[in-house]
Symmetry: none
Subunit: 151 residues, 2 copies
């Protein structure tokens, strides 16, 4: 029963915008699954669902996605050692590397997928990272600097 119910939960949240466990409970009951909020809370933990803020400012459950796995990805030491300097202006972070290594480092930055980073482009020894806003640029720049230091 539990498996079917959890399958139904995944189906429901992908079909509708469901913002609370109570709302989910009602939908589940419509589908013949008569459970309490407590059980749904446990299901959500087991399914590793995320509760996110939508564009409209309301809340919504989402299936597990890249967000979790991507965050754990870290730079490896070799890459951070190729970085000479990091600087930022407005919403752009500029990273200088030793000649020919920019592509490799940029690949690493792409791997550390981060919602603050819109995208990045690399030449031979320079990388430009476009971030969502000025604030993000500062954070990203600072994070990269920290990574350099800890290596």
């Amino acid at each position: 029963m539990k498996n079917k119910r959890q399958g139904k939960i995944l189906e429901l949240i992908s079909l509708h915008d469901i913002g609370t466990q109570e709302m989910l409970m009602e939908k589940l009951r419509d589908s013949g699954f008569d459970v309490t909020q407590a059980t749904i809370s446990r299901d959500i933990r087991e399914l590793k669902l995320a509760r996110v803020v939508t564009g409209k400012g309301s809340y919504k459950y989402l299936p597990p996605n890249v967000s979790e796995s991507t965050v754990s990805v870290k730079f490896n030491g070799a890459l951070t050692e190729s970085i000479i300097s990091v600087d930022s202006a407005v919403n752009i972070v500029v990273i200088k590397t030793y000649p020919g290594l920019a592509q490799a480092v940029a690949t690493g930055i792409d791997a550390v997928e981060n919602s603050m980073i819109v995208g990045c482009i690399a030449g031979d020894d320079t990388i430009m990272v476009v971030t969502r806003d000025e604030k993000s640029a500062a954070v990203v720049s600072q994070n990269i600097k920290k990574m350099i230091k800890t290596v």
Copy 2:
């Protein structure tokens, strides 16, 4: 104050595993931001953070996932079929393509001359289009997305 604080929040959640707003409140206070849980709740909504279940079964705040705001499409048009996603930040539009195709697509974008576009450069799989201002970036980004969809 609010902006700095929210920037700090982004920094804190990217550096530590923060599972509750109360925990975040303590870290913020350590950093000199003396605010209440209520304010943090509002910040979280504004920053569109997500609360996700970690691998260990605990909870954790994360920045919003890129995939939410990124349009990823696969289509069968001449140039547009090589485009994976379009996004923008401030006055820059970033277009991701399949590997090696960025140059070709960029040539197409240059061809579609537009007074809003200052210029663009292309790497291997990423194009950056610099526009006059923020509004232009939104328009250009929107137009490209439409081109992808209508093909």
